[in-house]
Symmetry: none
Subunit: 409 residues, 2 copies
């Protein structure tokens, strides 16, 4: 059987619940989606528990599962994913943290956890911390969006089993990091010294002196949370025997893909929001499939409307996604085994992730097809795939696409 | 997401097979059940393997599974469940047995395993044994229905790994209990001494002297079987983070609920049979939901008609259950996440439990709904839940009702 290449399209949080505004239909059901519906008619549909029945998935844990990994075994903490997502080269033994530029007084009492939502100047502030040594440990520090940043500690004898320094509310003294396991004593010591040092360096930094003069809150201390290490995880190519590319809307999932050794392909105008360059992402996927065996195409916008509770906006955005899929499907025909699904439900009525199943379709050359005429939560539930688990998606796709050797004779 | 409370309604053995008497329909399908059908239309349906494909569940093992516990790990033997069901306070280290009052001669040859189905006088006979000491072990002895009774041994160094003393047929000498593992030597010795003692005490007891005079068989010896200990099992509140109540028709499941730390709520006129006070049980469930987060409502009658092979009776009883559900559904509206299912099939054609799947519906606020119009084995199989395993029911309910934290980000 001639192999097909694989394209997994994940519309983040696309799955939803019935909405009164749509007369009891979901945004996906109510949307006019001729391309998705054609794929559903020609392909096979079903439902999927991204992680398991009753589990409310994060986008990170769900993507681990959909890419074929057990998230309970391999989930490594958000610091690592954010750091890798920002392009910091993480190695085994490193420990990563999500950080905030915050405002504190000289007693390290937190006045504002986000330093007045500081944006300009964080590149310079981060540079003032990046590369510092504490004992034999090197601090890698990089700014992210607004007050957010990421730190990676590189050195010997480090562990992610430390408590956070972020007190999570204003008016509290910055917390002292503690070792949650004996092997993390050194990491806690380094982290506490770093926190003190961050105030000493940042409080007198020109960017902050300037902010104080203007009556703005200085970003004069670093709060750390979400410690993560690099998991012992087989790369995507080792696990699946495929070279993989990823076109991904959010840092968190970019980080995961980098940790799995997938090539993260950046697209001009891709913003991770509803204003992203959908056509550019589709083109990038088509191009990536020339060299790669597997491409992950992740679209964030659907989830944004879910979190905002914007039913009409979500429906319209799904229609935009559908329209942008047209040229891609035209170009690929049925030469590529395509899967279209969501990483989780983000019901507009809930405004957050829910444990509901997500609809799934697979489409490719020579496959069976079922009686599903439209791609929606209710219709897909009547499809021939039944209800699968997220970790079954890769095996399902690989099997249908001819990547699997016979077991037995 | 605003949490809903949970109500799990189990109609024991309700699921069935097609019957000629009903022109190929099942009792549930043939029954006129407007309330269940409405719940099915407004909610989600599916099928459930209470324990697993091809497993014939007991009511005890099935309830363990539906309450979220692996029955292969936690099933503890029927003696324990019956003892707890009768209200005997079981503690770790105790060993419980199901017992019969039986008739033997002085050589301990069993003449009747049920002492002529003795009923009156067993309270007095049980009292004559209750509280006796053998070595450092205290005997707790309590009569149950007819010739049945329960014994709990409380003391040090006990084990349930002993063989039974009940020879299971007449004409045999009472079996000598043997240790199946070395740690049960003491228990076997105590049990054998108890058996001998039971004859010495009971044979000359006034109740039995009176029975002999009347030509009735005396209940002059105790036969023991089904040894069970108290399993290391997390309580329902620890496992699920919910305070739970149970309104249950049979001792076996009451015992299970007590072992799980659920409050067993007794209802006036609840008999565990088809003549039970259905309205009273429904009221009790509504009231229990004021204080509790989770309520189990178990209805036994359906199973009784299954065991009797009474097709028409089962159909009519299902209609009675449906009618009694009306006021409950009216009262609760969609503020409670309700699940309606069976713990196993008891096909009237089989007159015993079968491994068939059972139909399931879930109903609550804001959920998706599917195309199922009627609650029956065949229709539910077309629902959007697909086929789940019994152990998935609690996660499914908790997820839909907003009790689950996000895993990941």
């Amino acid at each position: 059987m001639a192999r097909m290449k694989l394209l997994m399209i994940i519309c983040d949080g696309m799955a939803d619940r019935p909405s009164e505004e749509l007369e009891g239909r979901t945004p996906l059901d109510a949307a006019d989606t001729p391309v998705m519906d054609r794929l559903a008619r020609e392909g096979q549909c079903g439902m999927m528990n991204p992680i398991g029945t009753g589990i409310v998935p994060g986008s990170d844990t769900a993507h681990l599962s959909l890419l074929g990994y057990d998230p309970y075994r391999y989930y490594c903490g958000r610091g690592t994913l954010e750091a890798a997502g920002l392009g910091i080269d993480m190695e085994k033994g490193d420990v990563a943290f999500r950080c905030n530029f915050a405002t504190s007084d000289k007693d390290l009492r937190v006045l504002d956890r986000r330093a007045g939502r500081i944006s300009g100047g964080t590149v310079e502030l981060a540079k003032a911390l990046d590369g510092r040594m504490i004992e034999d440990v090197r601090v890698i520090f990089k700014e992210a969006v607004e007050h957010r940043s990421v730190m990676v500690l590189k050195g010997t004898g480090l562990s992610s089993e430390v408590s956070e320094t972020d007190p999570h509310k204003e008016g509290e003294i910055v917390w002292t990091a503690k070792a949650l396991k004996p092997e993390a004593e050194k990491t806690a010591r380094i982290l506490n010294e770093f926190t003190r040092m961050s105030f000493d360096i940042l409080d007198k930094h020109p960017v902050n002196l300037d902010r104080k003069e203007k009556g703005l809150l200085p970003g004069n201390i670093i709060l750390s949370r979400g410690p993560g290490d690099v998991p012992d995880i087989p790369s995507f190519s080792v696990k699946h025997g495929m070279e993989a590319g990823a076109i991904v809307g959010i840092t968190l999932v970019k980080g995961l893909c980098r940790i799995l050794g997938m090539e993260v392909i950046e697209v001009d105008g891709a913003t991770g929001g509803a204003d992203t360059n959908l056509a550019g992402k589709m083109d990038a996927a088509i191009n990536a499939l020339i060299e790669k065996d597997f491409v992950l195409l992740h679209i964030k916008g659907t989830d944004v409307f879910g979190h905002d509770g914007d039913v009409a906006g979500k429906k319209e955005y799904i229609q935009k996604v559908d329209a942008s899929l047209g040229p891609l499907v035209e170009k690929l025909g049925d030469d590529v085994l395509l899967a279209l699904t969501a990483d989780h439900s983000t019901p507009t009525s809930v405004k957050d992730h829910a444990s509901d199943t997500v609809p799934l379709l697979v489409h490719g050359r020579g496959m069976r097809f079922d009686n599903v005429q439209k791609f929606s939560e209710t219709e897909a539930a009547g499809g021939m795939l039944g209800t699968i688990n997220g970790q079954e998606l890769m095996p399902l796709m690989k099997g249908l696409a001819g990547w699997v050797d016979k077991f037995g004779a």
